[in-house]
Symmetry: D2
């Protein structure tokens, strides 16, 4: 059972918690900016008996019974689509939002040239990694804080909000100071201290699905963030381990309609990681839009052959512009804009 309190005073929250404890149940209190969420753990019959009186307690907005393991992210809890706002741009709703940029921020020239091209082609948000999760400790690990500063410069130049990844609470603090949206990568989808930290700050969060995560596990990972009070979360399908060989991962596009049915959160698709080869990014980007994705995340680089990471899956600037041109009529054909 979840009790959602909105605009409640500290005393009102305390009063609810005490009643629950008196009944022999345990609580999990998450104080957010606008709402306080009280998770109630314990005997189901006791919960049911308590329910009616809690629904009318001062400050209580909702009491939600837990049928699915995830609560706050579910469509049962919030029936309408959530629109996440990133530096003034919307993800979710009628528009298809394109996030694009290089895998890693490598240099001032590289990120500014890419940002200009993303803006010119109609992209909504700029991506670029400053802290890079690399399989090998000997691979390029990102420009770190210098990369964050270059992203800010690119934003100032183009007006595009920026999203970048954090891998632990310390990096998160830095990212939040510079960027407009925090990315939690596939490898950290079940890094619970990081998810909680992302839930305790106010910037929107882009949560990527782990490479072998079920959709329920993805929703429960998002639930960690919402349970701390941050409801501004975008989910991203980026490929799973399947029968691979020709592609790096298997892009699971059915995740789009399935997730849109289960949750109110926006769902986007990353066809660059999902395929691992730039040649397949176009067809899969188009397929993702046709499947109903609220946005795409695409790797773009001015010179993919010399990229320090993910070159083989990056579009060059011309190919990105051509892809954008091909996406617009498709979005129109399903009644969306871009």
């Amino acid at each position: 059972m979840i009790i959602v309190m909105a605009g409640a005073t500290e005393g009102q929250v305390q009063a609810v918690v005490e009643r629950i404890h008196k009944a022999g149940l345990h609580t999990h209190v998450s104080v957010g900016v606008a709402r306080t969420v009280i998770g109630v753990v314990g005997d189901d019959r006791t919960k049911e008996m308590l329910r009616e009186s809690l629904e009318v307690a001062p400050g209580v907005e909702k009491v939600v019974a837990i049928l699915q393991p995830y609560k706050l992210v579910s469509r049962e809890f919030i029936p309408h689509d959530t629109v996440v706002t990133v530096g003034g741009r919307a993800i979710g709703g009628t528009q298809v939002a394109i996030i694009a940029g290089p895998c890693s921020v490598e240099s001032r020239a590289q990120i500014l040239a890419t940002a200009d091209a993303v803006k010119a082609a109609g992209g909504a948000i700029l991506r670029g990694g400053a802290f890079k999760p690399r399989t090998s400790p000997y691979a390029f690990q990102g420009l770190e804080e210098e990369g964050l500063r270059l992203l800010v410069e690119a934003r100032e130049r183009t007006g595009l909000p920026v999203v970048t990844e954090a891998m632990d609470a310390e990096q998160l603090d830095q990212v939040v100071r510079y960027a407009d949206m925090v990315q939690i990568g596939a490898r950290n989808m079940q890094n619970y201290p990081l998810l909680r930290a992302a839930g305790r700050q106010k910037k929107p969060v882009l949560l990527k699905r782990g490479v072998s995560a079920t959709l329920e596990e993805l929703l429960l990972a998002a639930e960690y963030i919402l349970s701390e009070g941050n409801y501004q979360v975008v989910l991203c399908e980026r490929g799973i381990r399947g029968i691979n060989g020709n592609t790096r991962y298997t892009l699971d596009l059915s995740a789009v309609p399935v997730l849109k049915g289960l949750t109110h959160l926006p769902v986007i698709v990353d066809p660059s990681h999902g395929t691992g080869k730039w040649r397949y990014v176009g067809p899969m980007a188009r397929a993702a839009v046709a499947a109903g994705a609220d946005g795409l995340m695409i790797e773009v680089h001015p010179d993919p052959a010399s990229a320090l990471s993910d070159g083989p899956q990056s579009l060059n600037l011309d190919n990105f512009a051509a892809l954008m041109a091909s996406l617009r009529p498709l979005a129109g054909a399903i009644g969306r804009g871009m």
Copy 2:
């Protein structure tokens, strides 16, 4: 090494085979309707020495070195797109071909009602199972020859060509007598005697990918059919075993652009088996068209709730008509017709 002979006399073929044997190599001769294909097995250097003289031997059209394990199906061998003709309808080319119908032919009324609806909505080909591969021996196994006769009646009524599955050489003989196209199902993708038998007859073949087959294995399975002389083969992606739970299989749409790059054969998608739930058939059908599929195979039933097989993934007649209407503008947006 593959030697393709076109319009060659028996004597010309024999002469080539003898020269190869004299050089100490083995042959694999497939006599087709229009072409005879001689596969050459043995020492690579000997093959290379023989090559030049074979290229100019009477009746020889091509000598192809084997870089990939599959030969006749590869784009290297035939660079242009193959168009497969099924009872006058084309699969491959500029149009997107829709194959639709019930999982199983269950009764005269059921198949005729479905055929009428498929035709009215603009479907190109009628599907319907007469011999059903069922996981359990106690499940409904199909109407067998009676089902084939009902398919013929539906064709006569609507003009739609029909496709249906065969599971062994004996069933294949029956199917070929009645249907316009033979289906080889996912469970039989590596049933080599069946593939060879399908290659020795002239009707076009619809070959479905096995649920854990790599794309190379699928292409090699098709190669079995082509190596017997039948080049009229359509490949079908129908979902693989992935991280399932919300869907029955993981529809691997990246197979479409990957296969289109590797082979000249048409590639279609079956979103009904791929998702296992009718609710997701629409979004994934649209995604498949956007990804570049040459066609779709969709399960339609007048009353899915009472279907003897695959009810949960079948569209009813109204939903099928609505899907068809939504596909047309999408096909147009990528420059294809339907």
Copy 3:
């Protein structure tokens, strides 16, 4: 519901079938050598009403309600372990049975040398492929009937019974004439016409798990064989598609205790295909015995480097003898002989 009739006359069977039809239910009758099995399909309440009277009908041995989708293979149906007898050797019971031999029968010298070595090291049964399911149509396809004759010669020389694979009903007829046990390979695990044909003859059947088959699908495939009257079936785990790279497949040894709990049929393990590399065959063979497998199937070749198929995963004769020596104390440590 399954009705098992033992030693029943044709008239007794007919009487039971008629009563079921009169009640509006359908039947699935399998006439075996010793038993006739009648599967009853239709409304559950009607079945329940009929049950009591059928239990006492002449010729009826058992009436079994269907809780699991598989019936005759289940431990509910036959609680004790089935021992399958192959040319006088037992699979199942207290001994661990070792089946060994080359992937393919390649020549008289090769199969006889291997048979001698298998016998000398204490192997129970000789394996060797005559009809080979090969991914590519251009690979060596086996010696066919000549291979069967060589297996018979090896049996006459060593006394070892032989097992070999059939891929369709026609090959099955040939195999049954020569061999002591028929193998149905992983690629044909759901080749239902073949499974039925294997169930209609009397030789024991070795059924290998498909590379992505669930254990329930494996049991239902075995059910096809038993439902035709042949209860002499051995199941074989041989590796599934997992997170591969260092091994060809992922040998799923937990299948052994899981299957032993669900079915009365013997369960053996093939570590050669399961790993694809001879270096790992020893450790995984020992692990399989420790996990409780009733036997092993191991590829052995006098000269793996020159094998026409599966050389990399074949043990040479010395390594096989060493493996056998290492297995005996392990079998003893878990209270079994070898």
Copy 4:
């Protein structure tokens, strides 16, 4: 290229680094307790030219060329088996080390009763979770520091060293103060900041394989720890996502011989998470020992039915004692003790 310096002064390290930089290459310096490791990144030919002179520079122990992506963990780098010492107990070597205990520390009575039973049955190390990575934010999250204190009490009472999990750098600091070994769980296998932090402290580390990680990814994750100077790492196979249904994961026992060939680090197996059902823990524990595992990690609980986490896969105290008795003769049969 990796340069390993042993007992080198700061000046000697600095001199080597400067020579590398002068050649235009980049360095990755990890100062460990006994050794300093300098990874060299850049042009391969330059590295090769530099190599000879670096090999004889003061303080340099070894210069290792990088053939595989992982270096310090590889058998090429250290050919002999590493033995990791945990509070005086060895993992690796001739003995099979048994780590056992509850999934979570739940109470003083629970952990002490379990510790007594683990000791009595011959276990080497006590496990118990204080910080629990739970899929749902509403599930029991562990007793945290109180759990660590109870583990210390159990160690003082029984003499068993203890291992417990940390999920971020902050928890790691706490765990290191109390426990004898730090566990990094499957969900955090690619949490690089955590791996680096684990490499910068001196307690041995138990690193569990991610549920869809390749063995190369596991070795590269361990490389992160070793590259920071901590060579005391034990790898643990705990099951991967496969064709599941009857078991929670697919325990990939072939990982044992494969890893033992690739790395000098000890390899253990967790059959409790690997199967998810206590009934299969015994057979798979025996199989793991027979496959050559250096140890096992087993979940034991005085009352599995009332466990706050992982009850279904936990052995009760009697079943654990029986398992230990069955393992000893098996270990003996392969020439190891326990």
